[in-house]
Structures are given as structure tokens and as C-alpha cells.
């Protein structure tokens, strides 16, 4: 059985690590490396979006595990890019807005220095198949 917070190979490619938190889903950290570089000096938008999706999935699996577990399927994602990602670590966190019987609405934010100044925000819808 896969642990609730096991990260897939793609998260390893991004260099993502988890920071456990009491009573909440772990926070994610992605270091700035050439593997996630876009235009010179800035993170690639695709890497930021990928980080946000991993954060959303981690938070949703955490919430789902507390209710008996299940599988999820992504329906869509909308990403707003607010600031360029600079040469420093990026943090990300998923927020489960609603976990229903069949559908989950999840948000995720990514920030660098200040959580109140996110570099990107995403909104996702997932289908949920409960165990």
C-alpha cells in the first residue's frame, strides 16, 4: 500500500521535499536548480505549476486519508502566475476547499520570501473515488 505522502518520480525530478506539520498536510519546498529553470534567472512556469499540483495532491490525499482513503483523478487546473520565481527556494501548500463524496475543490499557493506575496496560485477540481 502506498503511504499517503509518498511522492511520485515527477516530484523527485522537481527536487521537492516535504516539511511535516502537526495536524496538517506537509508543506512542500522546491530548491532553485537548472532542472526547474525557465528564462534565465527565473523558474519555469511549468515547474511552478507542477509544484502547485503536487502540493494540491498531497493536501487532498491527507484530507482523504482522514476520511478513510480513496483515489483521485484530476479534472482541471487553472494557474495564475503573479511574480517571477527567483533564485531561492520555493514553498508550496495545498488547501482543500471542499471534499465532497465525488468531487474535491482544492487550491494551492507557492511563495518564496513571504507567504503573503505568492508567486503563483492555482485552483483544481478532482474526481474522488472513495475506498
Amino acid at each position: 500500500m502506498t503511504p499517503a505522502h509518498a511522492l511520485p518520480p515527477y516530484a523527485e525530478l522537481l527536487g521537492v521535499t516535504l516539511e511535516p506539520r502537526d495536524g496538517a498536510a506537509p508543506m512542500l519546498v522546491m530548491p532553485f536548480r537548472d532542472d526547474v529553470l525557465g528564462r534565465p534567472g527565473f523558474l519555469h512556469g511549468g515547474a511552478i505549476a507542477g509544484l502547485l499540483e503536487v502540493a494540491a495532491i498531497v493536501s487532498l490525499q491527507h484530507a482523504l486519508a482522514e476520511e478513510g482513503g480513496g483515489r483521485i483523478k484530476p479534472v482541471n487546473v487553472t494557474v495564475d502566475f503573479m511574480r517571477g520565481g527567483r533564485d531561492k527556494p520555493t514553498h508550496a501548500e495545498g488547501i482543500v476547499t471542499r471534499l465532497g463524496t465525488r468531487v474535491a475543490n482544492v487550491e494551492a499557493i507557492a511563495w518564496q520570501d513571504d507567504r503573503d506575496k505568492p508567486i503563483a496560485h492555482a485552483r483544481m477540481n478532482y474526481l474522488v473515488v472513495r475506498d
Partner: protein
């Protein structure tokens, strides 16, 4: 400013994140550009099924639509993704290369509107649909 020569541009391998993902030029035509994302174990999002993560598909579509903007403007200039929406129509089939086709629908003074599809066999059976906007930074006084 000289024009944008897509063949010369695409003769270079992508560096950075695009290079790590293995993204390559696939083709171009009247109003569209295609990039290819070869299947790789490192891109898997669900180890049980081997299905690709969604992140690499967003990156592919961000890049394919981005190049479509340069083709439409006939100019390579800095731009920043303002927003991107992806609908996941079906999972990518494990083992298959995903092709991302980007189009630039409309250019205004400072914004490019784009759309695209991703497919792994035929464009008639897309696995993802995207819509997005880019800010044309060279039209905004150089501010990022």
C-alpha cells in the same frame, strides 16, 4: 527586429526545465506549433499505473503556446505567463510520447491569447485542452 525563424530556433535543444523534461520540437504549420514530450519514468505521477504527472503536460503546453506567440509576432521577445488553464480530458497512455500543439488566437498591444491541445496518438483524440494568456513584457516598459 528581425523575424522569427522557427527552424533555426528549434535547432537548439531546450535547456533548463524543458531540457530536463526532454521536450523537443515536433512540427509547425499555419498558425500552430507542436512540441513533443517523450515518455520517461522520471515524469510518472502515479507509480501504480505509470501515468505521467500533469505538471510536465502543463510545462509542455506553456512552451508550445509560448512558441506559437513568437511565430505569430514573427519576433522572439520576453513574455510571462499570466494564467494557464488545463482540462485533463483523459490520462496519457503510459509509454507514448505526448505532443503539445499550441496556437496564438489573438495579439493585443500587451497580451497574447493562446489555446492548445495535447494528444498521444491523433489530434482528434486529445488528452488535454488548454487556454491561457501571456504578458508581452517588451510592450510593458520592461517591467516583469
Amino acid at each position: 527586429m528581425s523575424g522569427f525563424n522557427i527552424d533555426a530556433f528549434m535547432a537548439h535543444r531546450f535547456g533548463g526545465h524543458g531540457g530536463t523534461l526532454g521536450i523537443q520540437f515536433h512540427g509547425s504549420g499555419d498558425g500552430w506549433v507542436e512540441l513533443a514530450l517523450p515518455y520517461a519514468d522520471s515524469l510518472i505521477g502515479d507509480p501504480d499505473s505509470g501515468v505521467l504527472a500533469s505538471g510536465p503536460i502543463i510545462a509542455l503546453m506553456d512552451m508550445a503556446t509560448s512558441v506559437a506567440v513568437w511565430v505569430k509576432r514573427d519576433k522572439f521577445a520576453p513574455q510571462a505567463t499570466l494564467d494557464l488553464r488545463v482540462d485533463y480530458l483523459r490520462p496519457a497512455v503510459p509509454g507514448r510520447t505526448v505532443i503539445g500543439r499550441g496556437e496564438c488566437l489573438k495579439l493585443t498591444r500587451s497580451i497574447a491569447f493562446v489555446r492548445g491541445i495535447a494528444y498521444d496518438e491523433t489530434p482528434d483524440d486529445p488528452l488535454a485542452h488548454v487556454a491561457g494568456t501571456f504578458m508581452l513584457i517588451d510592450q510593458m516598459g520592461g517591467a516583469a
